[in-house]
Subunit: 386 residues, 2 copies
């Protein structure tokens, strides 16, 4: 990677850099021989690339946007400058200073590490949910089961692949943050993000055990969204971007909570809505998948709380059954609409996005910087108009 | 923990320190409410303690012994000293220097982190092997399945518990090493250990797919032992102890290979032997468990290679079957003996232990220091005389 690149090209380096980091980590392990060993290790490397492909990299982009907004260009590059287009570059500044790592390169690694960690979390999530598909392709454990011809082995390899990507992403982030700051504050923040997702996954399983008509079900689901999704989707990218720009861990964590927490929860609510309404849904899963799988969404909790007695009974019967067919999905969708649950989710999203935007508005950033973060935030909330 | 403790008590602090570190990491997460959430999070914390209990802490002890051997007392405590028993402590030295972290405390954390990582690896290993027992108690996924009344949920929680312990252990080690050295060399070494175990688990699954009579089966099994077991059992403890004592990462890695690699492989071979011969086997699993589960041990590979045609056919028939009963176990054990496989394993162990001891002998340590490491190494090799 060139040590000099214009600000606008940093985003374009995400994909190649991620492939490079993955290749580094999954590089052939010296001293291991044997046909089966080589075949299985190769398959794991291949699956790591496949599982990581097809992401929209919104998390990496949000992290880079936050970083840029808080560290203007002259600050990011230290006392070095971009070569001048007009040709009057100052030689003393244009010479790369090998002792000063390029902060942009470090930040790019951190942004990539978030995406690699997501890949790890999704692979484990698909094992837990027994999901056969992800982004329109077989999920990692499904693909590895096909390869091995054995479900136990396929799941075991996927578990290990998730572990490898978690180990790799934490190490990449720890190293990059340390090169930037000389501290392990970034390592602590990254492991805090991992722990939050682990808590979130645990809460999600706890939620499954609540009776469907328990009071406070919507609040419990929102709590899962905060820990399992907002944590690494919007909070960590903002936190890491701000830390990369030199903000204190405390300040970075505060703005991650103020801007990222409501945005991340709104993202999951919007994702749930799209699953039901079916517009431009890019998860590669069939529309109505959440209903089919019996997922404990906020929509379901709101619908159960607001439906009339007949609909409530019917809704709980359908959702408590072992499985649901296309007719069930259509009927549940109709009840989400008639109970006002869909409208309620739209209102929740609007309120949360407004709260995120207000928090961004009072940071005292230049209007250009704030607008750049706003663009990166808006990617998480697709058009959800009715 | 007191900032002053005599060298001989550091080992006695392993258990309380580990409980403290676990409690810290699994401390109640603020803002999470709801009966099910609390119940499941509490159960996870409880299971973390249970899964971690009952270890013999040989890894932590080896790490502390290596650290002590390479960093004599005056060096470990910087320019501070233990309070003098005779009462003539020098006041200027006895005053704790808050700016200098106690290296012993840091090393204790690193030693504990290895044990916590082992707990994580064993939890994932039991999921992969579908083992219901560990150290005489239900394995984590079995216990959590009982708690949740659902196998998918029990396994999912165990997967997350393994992830939480991996995250925690890496962070504990990263912080402690950084406090000692100001670098992230220790973090890189710890993540290298995690990656090695992940590779080892993958190789183990690859080995399962090799036809039983493939040439090179014993070599392949030895490779699994190196990556899956020796990596974190003996190599990492030596590596981390040496680094904690101020040795360079390169030197620490070299002696970990020279002393720890043969010792760790010998440890697994001895463990396999004990599973067959049944003496003082402390894994909490029934004798003959490896045979029953169809494990691809070096014993099995050696027996297949050395048995006469009739026994080889019979052995492969038994081991290729879906399951094996007590009679099969007895018959396989007899063939391990008659083929000379057991004697071969004893020879392998002797050669490996000799190689480890010679490597220790040429390090130029004082005889006291070398003897202390030797004691810590010997714990891994129980008495395997016939």
């Amino acid at each position: 990677m060139s040590r000099y690149h214009t600000a606008s090209t940093l985003e374009s380096l995400i994909e190649p850099r991620m492939r490079h980091l993955l290749a580094d980590f999954l590089a052939e392990t010296p001293g291991i021989e044997g046909i089966e060993s080589t075949r299985v290790l190769d398959a794991m490397a291949e699956q790591a690339l496949t599982s990581n492909a097809g992401g929209k990299r919104f998390r990496a982009l949000l992290s880079l946007a936050t970083y840029r907004a808080f560290a203007p260009e002259h600050q990011r590059l230290g006392h070095r400058r971009e070569p001048q287009k007009a040709g009057h570059a100052e030689a003393s500044h244009a010479t790369p200073d090998r002792a000063t790592p390029d902060r942009d390169e470090c930040m790019l690694d951190i942004a990539c590490a978030i995406e690699l960690y997501q890949t790890s979390a999704l692979i484990h999530d698909d094992i837990i949910d027994e999901s056969a598909m992800r982004r329109g392709k077989p999920s990692a454990h499904a693909a590895l089961t096909t390869l091995m011809g054995d479900q136990r082995q396929g799941r075991a390899l996927a578990l290990m692949l998730g572990n490898m990507l978690a180990t790799a992403s934490a190490q990449i982030a720890t190293s990059a943050f340390h090169r930037m700051t000389g501290t392990i504050d970034g390592s602590i923040a990254f492991s805090g993000m991992q722990h939050a997702v682990e808590i979130g996954q645990t809460l999600d399983l706890a939620l499954e055990r609540m009776p469907l008509n328990t009071a406070g079900q919507a609040q419990a689901a929102l709590q899962v969204y905060r820990w399992k999704t907002a944590s690494y989707t919007t909070m960590a990218p903002i936190e890491f971007g701000a830390m990369g720009a030199g903000m204190s861990p405390r300040y970075a964590s505060r703005i991650a909570h103020e801007i990222g927490l409501p945005l991340g929860v709104a993202f999951q609510l919007a994702d749930d809505l799209l699953d039901v309404t079916g517009d431009s849904h890019n998860t590669g899963k069939p529309v109505g998948g959440d209903i089919k799988e019996g997922k404990r969404t906020v929509l379901l909790a709101d619908a159960i709380a607001a439906a009339d007695t007949r609909d409530r009974t019917r809704l709980m019967d359908i959702m408590a059954a072992d499985q649901r067919d296309a007719r069930d999905v259509a009927e549940v969708t109709r009840m989400y609409e008639s109970s006002g649950a869909i409208a309620a989710s739209r209102r929740r999203i609007t309120t949360l996005v407004d709260s995120s935007r207000s928090a961004l508005g009072v940071l005292g950033l230049s209007s250009t910087a704030a607008a750049a973060i706003d663009v990166a935030c808006s990617r998480f909330i697709p058009d959800i108009e009715d």
